[in-house]
Symmetry: C2
Subunit: 340 residues, 2 copies
DNA sequence: TTGTACGCGTTATCAA
DNA sequence: TTGATAACGCGTACAA
């Protein structure tokens, strides 16, 4: 076992006290430049590394942020993490990454561990099955700030950075309306998931703003995956000719891909027979036979804004509770009917 | 500032010593069941959370693993992280994630911070610009085990888990040879990057095994991006008809995409005029006009094997130094000349 | 400028 | 079964 080099060793080697070593190493003003020089040299020579664990214990600060991610393979989240990482690195914070795997139980246990590890703050995107918010409140009562990102919990006094799902859905639906389509369908997400609800609301709002009738038969509750979009589109395509939608807003890109497959299998053209748009700008969207018009979500920016807010809170620069919305961007390709 | 609940508070509330509280909370055998029960209850009631920082200080163990990732947005790495996370979670370790952004300087500073935070072990995929290995050796001399993953540093006594680039390149090249192609070109990576070298070696080895001549003019040193593949292919397409390759092995999928673009722009067909294969099974590979035959790298497995090895080392279950190779898998689509 | 005493919250050790 | 004491490595507060 290699013996560890502590500040005490460095002090002993120089015949001075550990305090002087500590001061020299932390660039405190009140230390003789010559002493500092010697301390730095011998620290270097002895291979001294400060023990942040000990430091954290006394300072009650770990310079560590806990990040809870519900699904690390979903490409949105690595992007968020990159944004988080960029800002936290600049501010001198490290990240403990926890994966809840969409399980409320794992999320709770992850949060408890992070609190025990004394993180200075928490960045959380809630798992889909979470319904009990007491753990969040407990944590905040301990003085540990939480900023939710992407999937938020409202009304518990925590900050929140999210994509404007509703407004973006309105935006893209209105784009279809501008093409002159009157009968527009919606392949929605599961009704209990917040982002699915928001997008559906945005869809409906766009129709209402243009005084188009909202036909419940044209709104199919499906899911976020390709197969969900495929079967939902099957249902829409079996409607009588007069009822069939001329355009479709899918809850996300994978669902749109599934829907496109169903459309092609019915020997219909996109966008000539049925226009379709997605949501999230999947990397495959522009590679489709007819490139998919969609909404690009700025995951990177969500991450940046969320940590920034958290760090501000940790360092007491701000105490206001706000809901930061990162706008989605309309990515126009051809599936909506646009050309070129 | 909310007052923190420590073991001492719990002890005081019950009129017992902190040691008994500690023992009860850690499920030690030598504590009266009734006492334990009372301790657990009041700990719960008072909202006690153990302070792992203090615990780590005395136990000299943090149950934390440092992970250094060179590029978090490259889809390979989130997959690896997921594998790491799965095993580490099961074993009770948390992950501190650091991003080197392909910079040797940032990597070094990340490692230093992780060591200072007293991680129990390190998982590192080296940044591209790294040439100085002393930091790795320093860390290992302190008794902190390192397992390299994907991008390894050999001959310094560290474990290593990687994809078998060379063998996989041989595999996919031989697949082309079996199609009967004789003149096969290679769009390679930058010569200083290890995985580029290995793939090129594997390519050459396959030709040699089949007694095909290795023509230096058919090996174009390029890069890992689409534009690199595009311009390299331009060069190959400008060779005189008798010299032009009948098939091409690209160093990775993006390079292959670029090459395909160049081929189409020359009004040639894939695979009828030029066959092409890639490497890494990018999500877009199967969506190309002619779906791309490629090698699927099991990033998830790389992560799992790497942490497992690291944890074994941390817990002294093993001390042997080995090089674990995760095999690549040939994904046959149509760009190689296969049909159906 | 430098040093001493003490505390951060926990556990190991030894004694009761 | 339980408790007192010391220690983990460092920084604060005060004294020299």
């Amino acid at each position: 076992m290699p013996k560890r080099v502590t500040a005490k060793e460095v002090a002993k080697a120089l015949g001075i006290s550990t305090m002087t070593v500590s001061r020299a190493l932390n660039n405190r003003p009140n230390v003789d430049p010559k002493t500092r020089q010697k301390v730095l040299e011998t620290a270097q020579k002895l291979g001294y590394f400060p023990n942040y664990i000990a430091k954290s214990l006394v300072l009650r600060k770990t310079n560590t942020i806990g990040v809870v991610v519900p699904e690390i393979t979903h490409s949105f989240f690595p992007e968020v993490v990159r944004g988080i990482e960029e800002i936290s690195y600049q501010s001198g914070y490290d990240l403990i990454l926890s994966h809840s795997a969409e399980s409320g139980i794992r999320e709770k246990s992850a949060i408890e561990t992070l609190v025990s590890k004394q993180v200075d703050g928490l960045l959380i995107s809630t798992a889909q099955t979470v319904s009990d918010y007491t753990i969040y409140q407990q944590v905040m009562r301990r003085g540990i700030p939480i900023v939710f990102y992407d999937r938020c919990v409202k009304n518990i006094g925590a900050n929140c950075v999210s994509i404007d799902d509703e407004e973006s859905a309105t935006l893209i639906t209105e784009h279809l309306i501008q093409h002159g389509y009157q009968r527009i369908g919606h392949i929605s997400g599961p009704s209990q998931v917040l982002i699915g609800q928001a997008r559906k609301q945005g869809f409906i709002k766009a129709l209402q703003k243009s005084n188009l009738t909202v036909d419940a038969d044209l709104i199919i509750e499906a899911g976020f995956h390709e197969k969900d979009g495929y079967s939902a589109m099957q249902t829409l395509l079996q409607l009588p000719p007069g009822k069939m939608p001329r355009a479709v807003v899918a809850v996300n890109d994978p669902a749109a891909f599934g829907a496109m497959k169903a459309i092609y299998e019915h020997n219909l053209r996109i966008p000539e027979d049925v226009a379709i748009v997605g949501f999230s700008d999947d990397i495959r969207a522009e590679l489709m036979r007819t490139p998919l018009t969609t909404i690009r979500q700025n995951a990177y920016e969500v991450g940046r804004r969320a940590v920034q807010k958290l760090i501000d809170q940790i360092e007491n620069k701000t105490s206001s509770v706000e809901e930061i919305i990162v706008k989605g961007e309309l990515v126009i390709r051809n599936s909506c009917g646009c050309t070129g």
